[in-house]
Symmetry: C2
Subunit: 101 residues, 2 copies
């Protein structure tokens, strides 16, 4: 017997990382400051979770200069979008099972 939570992947289920991938599912790319403010994370926390997602091949991080101002853009990879879609599917099953709670 398999419980729906067994289908959850810790890499993308963790709250901050789920938030990052959720934002990136709705946008082509997002910059570091936007993610930090939208998800109410600290710089260090966001950096750490982005690193986990990058190591897992889920996001691409690009540092550019716009004029003299450095800017960090983050986008989801194909793998990252697929992992997020699987997570949403597993959560949908869990939510349906506890509907009307």
């Amino acid at each position: 017997m398999s419980h729906p939570t067994n289908a959850l992947d810790d890499v993308v289920h963790q709250r901050a990382r789920l938030g990052i991938l959720a934002v990136l599912a709705e946008a082509q790319r997002a910059d570091f400051n936007y993610l930090r403010e939208t998800l109410t994370l600290t710089d260090g926390n966001l950096s750490r979770h982005l690193q986990v997602l990058e190591d897992a091949g889920c996001v691409k991080i690009t540092k550019v200069f716009e004029g003299k101002r450095p800017r960090t853009w983050i986008s989801a990879t194909k793998l990252g979008r697929e992992a997020f879609a699987r997570e949403i599917a597993a959560l949908r099953e869990l939510v349906a099972r506890h509907d009307g709670i």
Copy 2:
């Protein structure tokens, strides 16, 4: 602007702990071995997560003897059921936002 993932509580969102509370939402109580097998956790892992939930006031752990056999029963507290309901509500919002993904 608040993102739905900001409403998630790490205590109950973590995969194994979410699984424990999900099982307990469907049963009056569950024993340790049943939780371990249903959620495919190790003894140590399940113990650790139960401790976090007990410390947060979300579950009650009762050790009894049935004949000469020790048995550990786990049940959700009122606080635990409420925390699980809030988590499911936040996940429902997240899933709805990414419907059709």
